[in-house]
């Protein structure tokens, strides 16, 4: 019997959230499940990934179908969910498909929001949990370490996870496209709404400071200034402050624009031509549209930001396609390596067997030659060694070659059969 690498489970692609949430388990419950499955011995290797978007079982087993059923039956017991109600939502991949799936998940190409960064950490946690339960063997170990490498490569070599896909973060990204680093860039908040607060926080995380807050109700401005470590300024002085800052976030409930072209023109004249970035989060708009026409001024309203987010999404998708191509190469390389690993135990046990025969026969021969000189012994030793090496050479080469062509399994069986090796040596996991 040979073993198969498999992955089975459900994700946002195959199951609605009502089903997924029934299986999502916290860490200690998950640990119990993994331990219970290990005790049942359904799989040689096992790892369970459980996030809000997916519940997946990675493993190596002789009968992947049975292992899958056992794993999901066990996962269901905690919430009393019957296997039959889960089964229709399960996907199952083996071998090459499973490798591809593992790589795509770790690289966040299978995520609901492509390129979101959390998934890699979640996969690492799942792997660590499996390691602590001692259910990781050579195959999962190789698979996961390669998946982490691939994920890292996708992250650094493509823009898949880099472009903002929310309105607030896209504003920060635009600020970076204008100012480069946001270190020490002064921000003025006009209005004290929640969106404004979020955008200000994001900018400050990037190093923007100081922060000024102008609000029609001064008390609210002071309150927000306290939580964000900013300074409240009188609403009437907005224009003067604008001459000093680099980024203005407007988010008031005013029915008509509070930031007018005349104010901005005056501010721009006073600040020479350093660029000014106006983020208008108000609906109806807080900034007069004509402001964008002023030199060195970039004014974005919510619709503009949505448009940028949309463009970013498309760009992410294009980058994802590039990442998929990259990933294909990695899958092929990994499978080749895995197949080579597959034949190694057979070569090793063949070597051991021949060595045992050699030792035994050599000892017998030497026992019959009590008066043999050291020289004779050395010659016999070398002779036997040479014969063993020559016999070993052809099958070893054949096994390595066949693994490269994908016939490794067949040939490990043939070689094991011919040389009478232990049956399990053809398998890669025990």
């Amino acid at each position: 019997m040979t073993t198969t690498l498999f992955v089975a489970g459900m994700s946002h692609r195959t199951a609605p959230v009502e089903i997924r949430e029934q299986l999502a388990l916290e860490e200690d419950k998950l640990r119990e499940v993994v331990a219970a499955l290990a005790a049942q011995g359904v799989a040689a290797e096992l790892m369970i990934l459980s996030t809000c978007n997916r519940v997946e079982v990675y493993g190596v087993a002789e009968a992947p179908g049975e292992a899958r059923a056992a794993a999901f039956r066990q996962l269901g017991t905690h919430r009393g969910v019957a296997l039959a109600s889960i089964e229709p939502h399960l996907f199952a991949h083996t071998e090459e498909e499973a490798v591809r799936h593992a790589f795509r998940v770790a690289a966040s190409l299978d995520s609901l929001v492509i390129g979101e960064p959390q998934i890699l950490g979640q996969v690492k946690d799942a792997f660590a949990l499996a390691q602590s339960c001692r259910t990781v063997g050579p195959v999962l170990n190789a698979l996961m370490s390669q998946a982490f490498t691939v994920a890292k490569r996708v992250r650094t070599d493509t823009e898949v996870g880099r472009l903002a896909v929310s309105v607030a973060s896209s504003a920060v990204e635009l600020a970076r496209k204008i100012f480069g680093s946001l270190d020490g860039k002064a921000v003025l908040l006009v209005g004290a709404g929640e969106m404004a607060e979020l955008a200000a926080r994001l900018l400050m995380e990037e190093g923007a400071m100081p922060l000024y807050i102008a609000n029609r109700t001064p008390a609210r401005a002071r309150e927000l200034a306290a939580t964000l470590a900013g300074a409240a300024v009188p609403f009437e002085q907005m224009g003067a402050v604008m001459a000093e800052v680099d980024i203005v976030i407007a988010c008031t409930a005013a029915p008509e624009p509070v930031v007018r072209v005349a104010d901005v023109r005056a501010a721009v004249a006073a600040r020479r031509t350093r660029p000014l970035f106006l983020i208008d989060l108000g609906v109806p708009r807080n900034v007069e549209a004509a402001v964008n026409g002023l030199e060195g001024v970039f004014a974005y309203d919510v619709d503009d930001l949505e448009q940028v987010v949309e463009a970013n999404r498309r760009e992410r998708q294009r980058e994802a396609r590039r990442a998929e191509t990259m990933l294909e190469g990695e899958v092929t390389r990994f499978l080749r390596r895995l197949r080579e690993v597959e034949v190694v135990p057979t070569i090793v046990s063949l070597k051991e067997k021949l060595e045992a025969i050699r030792r035994g026969e050599l000892d017998k021969a030497l026992a019959r030659l009590p008066g043999a000189s050291a020289e004779t012994r050395a010659v016999l030793e070398a002779l036997s060694q040479a014969i063993v090496n020559k016999v070993l050479h052809a099958p070893a080469v054949k096994l390595r070659d066949s693994s490269r062509d994908g016939h490794g399994r067949r040939w490990t069986e043939v070689v094991s059969e011919i040389f009478g090796l232990r049956r399990s040596t053809g398998e890669r996991d025990r």
Partner: protein, 269 residues
């Protein structure tokens, strides 16, 4: 002549690098960027050899004919491009500099006309004059590329419709800094080169500004760049205005070269 062959190889490498760099700008392949970088470096090495051999063959610095001058100028510009790409981390710089390099390289007059210099006025100063002016011009090629990139990126940000180039181009601030840095690098050399040339002309011909098209256009070009720098220092002309002026300055630079090639004057031809 081996140096002409080497020069052709260099120019071919620059052309390949240009195509690859443009491909990297518009497509999304890191491999193309690496190819562009490799070809630029290889081209520069061949170019160096070509210039060195030409100097050895002539027994003087290859800074006398206009084709020699343009060749050395683009050699310097390629070197600066490789430097700036690293320092400013602008991977797409090549896509904007290399077309200029290739354009100048292809337009380079093939004849190797020597300048009709009266032996009496030959002095060491002519080499210093030419070398300084060339370093300045090489830096101004980069200044031009930086300005074009700035204008492109500024337009995208104003229009609020990010296209593929938007994602590749760095921040406005970086591009502004690149333009300013190359201007402050190039301008002093250009100034020193022109002043030396004027002094030398004064000593040789008794007049600082005799009727010489190259010299006259140089002065116009110098004034454009001087005004950008002055505008910067005073603080009025950052960003887009500086970029537009940098483009104008570069047009003056091209006119200067064109005048040197096409019109009769004391710089030869």
């Amino acid at each position: 002549m081996i140096n002409a062959v080497l020069y052709d190889i260099a120019l071919t490498a620059y052309i390949v690098a240009m195509v690859a760099a443009l491909g990297h700008l518009l497509g999304r392949r890191e491999g193309l960027w690496r190819l562009a970088l490799l070809c630029t470096q290889a081209g520069w090495l061949f170019h160096t050899l070509a210039i060195g051999l030409r100097g050895a063959e002539l027994g003087r610095l290859p800074l006398l004919t206009l084709s020699e001058l343009v060749s050395v100028m683009i050699w310097g510009a390629v070197l600066l491009e490789l430097w700036a790409e690293r320092v400013f981390r602008v991977k797409v710089l090549g896509a904007f500099v290399l077309p200029v390099i290739v354009g100048l390289g292809l337009a380079l007059p093939t004849g190797l006309r020597a300048l009709a210099l009266e032996p009496a006025i030959r002095s060491a100063w002519i080499w210093v004059h030419a070398a300084l002016a060339l370093i300045g011009l090489a830096a101004l090629v980069l200044n031009f590329a930086g300005a074009v990139m700035y204008l492109l990126q500024e337009r995208q940000l104003k229009a609020k419709r990010p296209g593929p180039v938007y994602y590749r181009l760095p921040s406005l601030e970086t591009l502004d800094r690149l333009s300013y840095r190359t201007l402050t690098l190039g301008f002093p050399f250009l100034t020193a080169g022109l002043v030396l040339g004027a002094l030398w002309a004064g000593a040789a011909w008794g007049s600082v500004l005799t009727w010489d098209p190259l010299a006259l256009f140089s002065v116009v070009m110098w004034m454009v760049y001087a005004s950008i720098l002055a505008g910067r220092v005073v603080g009025r002309w950052h960003g887009r205005r500086a970029a537009y002026l940098a483009v104008a300055g570069f047009c003056a630079l091209l006119l200067t070269l064109g005048a040197g090639i096409l019109l009769q004057g004391r710089h030869g031809s």
